[in-house]
C-alpha cells in the first residue's frame, strides 16, 4: 500500500517538474535560436559599428547595418512615454488607494486595468486615425506619425501596469504607519507624501520599470504610429523607427539567412538585452528595498 502511494507521489512530482520546466526550456530554445540567427551579422560588421553606426540602409549596395538610430528611437520613445505614464499612473494609484472612497476605488481600478485589455493594434489604430491628424493640425507639423504620438500611445499602454502595481504597493503599506503619522498631527497629504509613498517606493519603482519594459518591447503601436524613419530624432515631432517596428516591418522582406536577416535578429538580441535589464533592475529593487512593514519582534 505504502509503496503504491510512494510511486504515485513520485510520479506526480516528476509530472509537475516536467510541466514546470517546459516553459523554461522553451524560453532557452528561443534565446538560443535568437543568438544563433543574430550573431552571424558580426562577421559583416563589428559589434561597435552595429550598435553605434548611424546609418541603417540594409538594402543598399553596399548595405549599412548601424542601429544607433533605432536604439535612440526606442529609448526616446520609452523615456517620453514614461514621462507621461509615470505621473499619471502613480497619481491615479494614490487616488485609488488613499483618497477615493472604497466604492469609487473598486470601480476605477478595474477600469484602469481594462485599459490594458485593449489590443495594442486598437491603440495603434486610434493613434493613427485620430491622434495623428490632430497633432498635425495643432502643431502644424508635416506628419502626425512621430515620436510624440508613439510615446502618447505607449503611455496609454503602460499606465495600467504602473497604476495597478503601484496601487498594490501603496495598499500594502500597513495602516499602523498611517495612523502613527496622523496621530502626530500630520495632514492626510503629508501622510501620503512623507510616509506612505516612501514606504511603498520599492513597489512603485518595480511598477514603473515593468511599465517601461512593456513600452520598450511594444511592437504594433510603434509600427503604426512612430513614423518609421530610421533617423536620430531632433525634436519630439520627428518620425522615428524603434527596434521592434524595424524588425516587424522588414523581416518579411529580408531574404532568409541574408545579412539583413541576421541584422534583424541581432537587433532582436539588443532589444532582448534591454528588456532583460529592465526586468533585472525591477527584480533587484523589489528585493533590496522590500518593505519590512510593521515591526517584527
Amino acid at each position: 500500500m505504502a509503496n503504491k502511494r510512494q510511486i504515485t507521489e513520485r510520479t506526480m512530482h516528476t509530472l509537475f517538474f516536467v510541466v514546470a520546466s517546459a516553459s523554461i526550456v522553451m524560453l532557452f530554445m528561443i534565446m538560443i535560436f535568437l543568438f544563433m540567427e543574430g550573431i552571424p551579422i558580426f562577421n559583416e560588421v563589428s559589434v561597435k559599428d552595429f550598435i553605434f553606426g548611424k546609418y541603417w540602409y540594409p538594402t543598399s549596395e553596399p548595405p549599412d547595418f548601424g542601429i544607433l538610430s533605432l536604439i535612440v528611437a526606442s529609448l526616446s520613445v520609452t523615456l517620453l512615454s514614461a514621462l507621461i505614464s509615470i505621473p499619471l499612473g502613480i497619481l491615479t494609484a494614490i487616488y485609488i488607494a488613499e483618497i477615493a472612497s472604497k466604492k469609487v476605488g473598486e470601480i476605477i481600478k478595474p477600469m484602469v486595468e481594462l485599459l490594458a485589455a485593449l489590443p495594442s493594434v486598437v491603440i495603434g489604430f486610434f493613434g493613427m486615425v485620430l491622434v495623428a491628424p490632430f497633432l498635425q493640425n495643432i502643431f502644424n507639423i508635416p506628419t502626425g506619425l512621430n515620436l510624440f504620438n508613439a510615446s502618447l500611445m505607449l503611455a496609454f499602454m503602460s499606465i495600467p501596469t504602473i497604476c495597478s502595481l503601484s496601487e498594490d504597493a501603496i495598499h500594502s503599506v500597513p495602516n499602523s504607519l498611517r495612523e502613527a503619522s496622523l496621530a502626530l498631527g500630520a495632514t492626510h497629504l503629508e501622510t501620503i507624501l512623507k510616509v506612505v509613498l516612501p514606504a511603498s517606493l520599492s513597489g512603485i519603482s518595480t511598477a514603473v520599470i515593468l511599465g517601461m519594459s512593456r513600452a520598450i518591447g511594444e511592437t504594433m503601436v510603434v509600427l503604426m504610429v512612430a513614423g518609421g524613419a530610421a533617423l536620430i530624432p531632433e525634436s519630439i515631432f520627428d518620425p522615428v523607427r524603434p527596434m521592434p517596428a524595424s524588425i516587424a516591418s522588414e523581416m518579411a522582406e529580408a531574404p532568409f539567412r541574408s545579412a539583413h536577416y541576421h541584422a534583424l535578429f541581432a537587433t532582436g538580441i539588443v532589444l532582448f538585452i534591454f528588456t532583460l535589464l529592465f526586468n533585472i533592475i525591477a527584480d533587484h529593487i523589489a528585493h533590496k528595498y522590500k518593505q519590512v512593514g510593521e515591526a517584527t519582534l
Partner: protein, 272 residues
C-alpha cells in the same frame, strides 16, 4: 451579583479624594460610539486629570481601545463610525465642527499596541512630528530629537546609530523610539494603547519606568490587558465591560476593595 449601574454610581470615595486638587484635562460626557449599527460604547462618562496616569482595563472587545481612540479622533478614519456625546479637552469639545483635527492630534500623542516606526532612520522618525508641525530650524530639531530620545530612556542605546533605520532595533527599542516620536511634538496628553503587549518583560519594565517619569509632565491614559501593569503604573483605574464603564476609582481602591463584584471577578482573574 450587584446589578451593573450607570457610570456615575461606580465612582468611589478615594477617587474623589485623589483628584480633588488636580484640574480636569479631559472630560468625557455620555459618550456613545457606533461601528455601523453595532454600538461599541454605551453612555460612558469619565474625567481625566492633569499629571495623572489612568489605566483602562477590561476583557478584549470591551471597548477600551475604542474609547481611547475617540480621545484623539483616530476613529474618524473608520468611515462607518459615529460618535455621540461630548469630549471636552480643556473645556472645548473636540468633536465640534470648528475643531482642526490635525491641531488636536498634535496636542495628543499616541503610542500604539505594536511598535510602528516609519521605515526611516531613528532620527527621522522622531523628527517627523516636528517637521509636519512646521518646525524647520535644524539645530532646534536636533536638540528636540535628542531630548525626546533621552526622555524615553533610549538615547544611550541609539545615539551611535541615530541615522540608521529604526527597523533594525529590537521591539522594545522600537517602542521607546515610538514614544520619543510622540513626545517630540510636546503633546499635553499621551494615549497608550497596550504599549507593552508585544514586548518582553524587561522592555515592559523600561516602558513602565518611563511612564512614571512622564507622568510629571503629561496626562497619561493607558489601555492595558495586564492587571499587574495597571496596578503598577496608574493612579486611576477604569474597568470597562461590554462597552460600558463599570467602575472607576483610585487604583489602590479598585485593586483592593472594588465596589462591584464584576470588577472584583475580573481583577482576580475569574473571567476575562
Amino acid at each position: 451579583m450587584p446589578k451593573v449601574q450607570a457610570t456615575s454610581s461606580g465612582e468611589s470615595v478615594t477617587y474623589k479624594e485623589i483628584c480633588v486638587d488636580k484640574p480636569v484635562k479631559i472630560e468625557v460626557k455620555h459618550l456613545n460610539f457606533y461601528y455601523g449599527k453595532v454600538q461599541a460604547l454605551q453612555d460612558n462618562s469619565l474625567d481625566f486629570h492633569i499629571n495623572e496616569v489612568s489605566a483602562l482595563i477590561g476583557p478584549s472587545g470591551c471597548g477600551k481601545s475604542t474609547f481611547l481612540r475617540c480621545l484623539n479622533r483616530m476613529n474618524d478614519l473608520i468611515s462607518i463610525s459615529r460618535v455621540e456625546g461630548n469630549i471636552l479637552l480643556d473645556g472645548l469639545d473636540i468633536y465640534d465642527p470648528s475643531v482642526d483635527v490635525v491641531m488636536l492630534r498634535s496636542r495628543i500623542g499616541m503610542v500604539f499596541q505594536k511598535p510602528n516606526p516609519f521605515p526611516k532612520t531613528i532620527f527621522e522618525n522622531v523628527a517627523y512630528g516636528l517637521r509636519v508641525n512646521g518646525f524647520k530650524n535644524k539645530t532646534f530639531i536636533e536638540q528636540r530629537v535628542e531630548e525626546s530620545l533621552k526622555l524615553s530612556a533610549i538615547w544611550d542605546e541609539v545615539k551611535d546609530r541615530i541615522h540608521k533605520s529604526a527597523l533594525e532595533l529590537s521591539g522594545g527599542q522600537q517602542q521607546r523610539v515610538c514614544i520619543a516620536r510622540a513626545l517630540a511634538v510636546e503633546p499635553e496628553i499621551l494615549l497608550m494603547d497596550e504599549p507593552c503587549s508585544a514586548l518582553d518583560p524587561i522592555a515592559t519594565q523600561k516602558i513602565e519606568e518611563l511612564i512614571h517619569q512622564l507622568k510629571k509632565s503629561f496626562t497619561i491614559i493607558i489601555v492595558t490587558h495586564n492587571m499587574q501593569q495597571a496596578a503598577r503604573v496608574s493612579d486611576i483605574t477604569a474597568f470597562f465591560y461590554m462597552g460600558r464603564l463599570i467602575e472607576k476609582g483610585g487604583t489602590d481602591t479598585i485593586f483592593t476593595r472594588p465596589k462591584l463584584k464584576q470588577t472584583q471577578d475580573y481583577i482576580t482573574g475569574r473571567f476575562g
